[in-house]
Symmetry: C2
């Protein structure tokens, strides 16, 4: 049979990162290409204890169908926490639980973007979100990132010239892949521009709790008095990614449609996971856990940056220091063939992610690659970065 596929998936490809994972599965290869939280960051004992308690006290509720919006006590716990600690959420907003923040990207696109409509995003940006937008045949318009966030002139130009722009997608803290944190000044200006041009903002904040230096910067959603920002949060980096738990805080009109779409996608999110997260947030020391995570990642990030300074930077690869998150963005000298560099690295058994994977058009020129420091052990990290340094020394 000749299989007829929809237009929207004709050009959709598996994430380039996935392809690299195939090499990374080789145990002799040092993978700096993943984005997994450090295994020591999981509160295993707490989850074991909570899970046992749930199956002792309330097993049927943990196994039965539940409501699409999410487990009510978790919705309340997250809502209260975000309001109290981040000033996020107004009366015009609603909060629902999703199957990872990835599902927020999907549901909001499904609810707001017609085929051919435009989504503005940072360039580079998180490939998982870009693919989600692409899967609805959205047109992607990438705005170059500077060291403090998007280039605002180009953003305003895009808002003026692009047709049917439905939202601006932004990861304001420790962006994936660039590590860039958008400054408070730029956050405010982006908000004003969105308001001026009557366009929503989709603020994705998976790494916000993982700040390792500097002061917290208020999220864009925290100054949303106009109901123009949808905020995507995630439990993947602060509890467990395997649970697939995220949430969205956005104006009710939008959330109502997202709920209807979610009903047709997966009915609701795994209820056991929602009950675990609720108990972890309300009966355990959640803030203490976050502080512990920051300590883990502070050590790992600083160790990684020290290695980069020792082995790589002298060999002409540069990077911008990060204040949090899981990734460092390394730039090769102009004119160097980045794809070839990454390929040579694989041959020496080190995997990194070629930067063009994160562009709205993968064929565009890019001289950067992404490394991750949360997944590898310290030994693997040192081995991998040393090899990258040797490679750079030889071919640059």
């Amino acid at each position: 049979m000749e299989y007829i596929l929809s237009d929207r998936v004709q050009t959709l490809k598996p994430s380039a990162i996935r392809e690299i994972f195939k090499y990374a599965a080789d145990p002799t290869v040092v993978s700096l290409s993943a984005g997994n939280p450090a295994p020591e960051a999981f509160p295993v004992d707490a989850i074991r204890e909570i899970s046992a308690k749930i199956f002792e006290e309330n097993p049927i509720a943990a196994l039965q169908y539940s409501v699409t919006e999410g487990y009510a006590p978790l919705r309340k716990a997250v809502g209260d926490y975000m309001k109290k600690t981040h000033n996020i959420g107004r009366d015009f907003d609603d909060l629902i639980i999703t199957s990872g923040a990835q599902q927020v990207m999907d549901l909001i696109t499904k609810s707001m973007v017609n085929e051919g409509d435009t989504v503005i995003c940072e360039a580079p940006s998180f490939i998982g979100s870009l693919n989600s937008f692409r899967s609805y045949n959205a047109r992607l318009c990438g705005i170059p990132l500077e060291s403090d966030g998007m280039n605002l002139e180009l953003l305003e130009k895009a808002l003026q010239t692009e047709k049917n722009v439905r939202f601006i997608y932004i990861i304001a803290n420790f962006q994936n892949p660039s590590g860039v944190t958008t400054s408070l000044e730029k956050r405010k200006k982006i908000y004003e521009l969105a308001k001026k041009y009557n366009v929503m903002i989709l603020e994705d904040n998976p790494y916000g709790d993982l700040r390792i230096s500097g002061e917290n910067i208020p999220s864009i959603k925290s100054f949303d008095e106009d109901g123009i920002v949808a905020y995507a949060g995630s439990f993947s980096k602060v509890l467990s990614p395997g649970m697939r738990l995220g949430y969205v805080i956005a104006p009710k009109t939008v959330v109502q449609k997202m709920i209807v779409c979610k009903q047709g996608e997966d009915v609701h999110t795994n209820i056991w996971a929602q009950m675990v997260a609720h108990k972890f947030m309300t009966e355990y020391d959640f803030d203490g856990h976050l502080a512990k995570l920051r300590e883990i990642y502070r050590k790992k990030a600083n160790f990684c940056m020290d290695l980069l300074d020792k082995y790589i930077v002298p060999n002409k690869i540069t990077y911008q220091r990060i204040d949090g998150g899981l990734f460092i963005w390394c730039k090769l000298p102009d004119g160097v063939d980045m794809a070839d560099f990454c390929k040579q690295a694989v041959l020496r058994k080190v995997c990194v992610v070629p930067g063009n994977a994160f562009l709205t058009d993968e064929k565009e020129q890019c001289s950067s690659f992404r490394i991750n420091f949360s997944t590898p052990t310290d030994e693997q990290l040192e081995k991998g970065i040393k090899i990258l340094g040797e490679l750079a020394k030889e071919i640059l």
Copy 2:
């Protein structure tokens, strides 16, 4: 701000069943409107035991990111089981784990259906699936169900006249809402028609293991030597719906695109649930558990049908006896206002689902309603059906 929503969600409404659930939440109301498995059908002790073991032996694997296709041991266990017990799956097929069978409906529509393309379905059919198709702006073409499956003449006519038909959606066993089981003869003819007109079949089989009488009928997928059938399976009725676990067995070309779409929707399905299901299938008496479920539902279904015969049928409401599943489809005399009957029932504190909720066009005339016997207790069932009988006696 004026929120601009996509065309596909403009007319998409929350499921009518959801709206009815609002009444059903009133504890004084007897709800015959749900579709939840009976609480006594959950293997609580086994799940408690397996979950504890996982968090003892392998906690990181249960909490870390996993692969989009699903947990490899579960994929193998399901594949082997379906091949051995149902002759489902050929070399050209692949199997992936999904977040409930609901996600199969979503992913296959996303992968194969352009806006405006046609999906043929049974009329009536499961509203969750219809809404999933609708959410991609598919055109729905309903083929009237007879007591042994779709009207084949009308099916062939639709295949001849409808434009861009992408698949035929069918629940062959104990259909929701009608309870109808498609005969072997009709299954074969539907397969031949799909082949003749070069159209896929999406066979959804959430209730297949819940047969309470008669002989098993081979699934359409079991005679798929041409690679034209996608089979959706579910753990919701045989393990736990709250876990959100389903799977699809379909030709590789289609499954490959579904994987890419799933990546953008939820990355992967909750991994703890996949590990639990794997251990339950391979280390426990899975077939014995299914036999126990059939016994539970046999008792409940027969009890319900006895009540219908006692209180309802003499009052002019008719129904077709079922061989399995969770639902009974009750028909009012022609000319009676079904919506009004359901409303009167709610006023007397009994909830049923108005039949038009399951039509491709909810405004079409329908004289049936759906009742469920798996969720209510025996006492609730008797109370509810007795009230329906009294109502029928008074107003019919």
